[in-house]
């Protein structure tokens, strides 16, 4: 039994009790030339009904962008982004019902 417990602990992959952002593409504060897809990856499966993200331009105005939530990932599909700073605001809810909000900013350069 002791061995089993140790094995389970050693085999544990990084996970979190709430659905936290683990990575994004573009990464936070990245400078990129083109962006066709924005992906936000979370630590656990999301509840699509209560998770989502929106894209804001430099003036803080929300842009109409198609988005989807599947598994641990939120995807935004901007058609084309002009040079400038952008912010993605997200809210994530995992199966444990906890809501987490946050944002990721990046810059499109000419």
């Amino acid at each position: 039994m002791k061995k089993l417990v140790l094995l389970m602990l050693l085999a544990a992959s990084p996970a979190f009790a709430h659905a936290r952002l683990t990575s994004s593409d573009p990464a936070a504060d990245a400078k990129v030339k083109t962006v066709k897809t924005i992906t936000l990856s979370f630590s656990e499966k999301l509840e699509p009904a209560f998770s989502g993200a929106s894209l804001l331009d430099a003036a803080g105005k929300a842009m109409p962008v198609p988005s989807s939530v599947a598994g641990k990932v939120i995807t935004l599909l901007p058609m084309s982004l002009k040079p400038g700073r952008y912010k993605v605001e997200y809210h994530s809810v995992g199966h444990d019902t906890h809501r987490i909000t946050g944002s990721v900013s990046f810059e499109v350069i000419p």
């Binding site: 389970m8 602990l9 992959s13 990084p14 996970a15 979190f16 656990e44 009904a49 209560f50 199966h95």
Partner: protein, 273 residues
């Protein structure tokens, strides 16, 4: 409020399952002990579970959506894993109500109360923090944790009711409870350690001080409960000292219910920063 609703739901379902399971055990193993007249208590626990379970759904829906209206509650109930398991819990509780009204199906009541108690394990911290992402591992250890805690706490409640009516076969009942409770407490501690380790050690991040403080309170109280149980089993029972045993059992039960309320809070706190 959410932590309170959660804690009270667990208090009600732990007592409902544990008292049903130990009463069932008494009836099959010690038929000379006459059945308890505990129907009012079971109805009260059932009502508490239904009210706090529904409050839990409403408050969780408001927290998830950051808004509150009937559509949010409906979406939570039908479109989220938590909501789907909530519907399962409510169905189990309504089934218990039907069986209590019909005064039959005692073994089925044990099964349904076990379901109402363990289904929240599927959306627990332990399930979310399962090794390698296999949520079933954490859900199973959490379910065993809940069921064994229920047997311990609910069994103590039944023992106190037997003490109150001056049951002539009290020592037999104590002995039966003690044998089963030792196994239950062993499993409870083991699954608690596994859950705690996977939540706090198997993850990246720094442990939250508030979470650790609440966990510390829970562990101290559980250690005290185990201490009282050991004194009862190995010092007082061999000497047939029923009065101090009853006093210790009441203290254990009170501490146990406080532990459950603290666990309700733990389920709402962010373990890691």
């Amino acid at each position: 409020m959410l932590a309170l609703a959660r804690g009270l739901y667990f208090c009600a379902t732990l007592l409902l399952f544990g008292s049903s399971a130990f009463t069932f055990l008494l009836r099959t193993r010690l038929p000379m002990i006459l059945p308890l007249r505990d129907a009012p208590l079971r109805w009260a626990l059932l009502l508490l579970a239904l009210i706090t379970g529904s409050a839990w759904l409403g408050l969780a829906a408001a927290a998830m959506a950051d808004a509150m209206d009937s559509q949010v509650v409906m979406t939570t109930a039908t479109d989220t894993l938590f909501g789907q398991f909530f519907l399962g819990r409510i169905a189990a509780l309504l089934g218990i109500g039907l069986l209590l009204a019909l005064r039959r199906g005692k073994s089925l009541i044990v099964l349904l109360s076990a379901l109402a108690l363990l289904l929240p394990a599927a959306t627990s911290h332990a399930a979310a923090a399962s090794p390698a992402g296999f949520a079933a591992i954490g859900a199973i250890t959490d379910a065993v944790h809940l069921l064994t805690a229920g047997f311990w706490i609910g069994g103590l409640a039944v023992l106190l009711l037997l003490f109150r009516r001056a049951e002539p076969n009290m020592l037999l009942a104590l002995s039966l409870f003690s044998d089963w409770a030792m196994v239950a407490v062993l499993l409870l501690v083991m699954t608690g350690l596994i859950n705690g380790a996977s939540i706090l050690l198997g993850q990246e991040g720094k442990a939250s001080l508030l979470y650790l403080a609440a966990l510390g309170v829970k562990l101290v109280l559980v250690a005290g409960m185990i201490g009282l149980a050991v004194v009862n089993r190995f010092r007082l029972m061999p000497k047939d000292q029923e009065t101090p045993i009853a006093r210790h059992a009441a203290m254990e039960l009170t501490a146990g219910l406080v532990v459950v309320l603290v666990a309700g809070l733990l389920g709402q706190l962010q373990p890691l920063q």
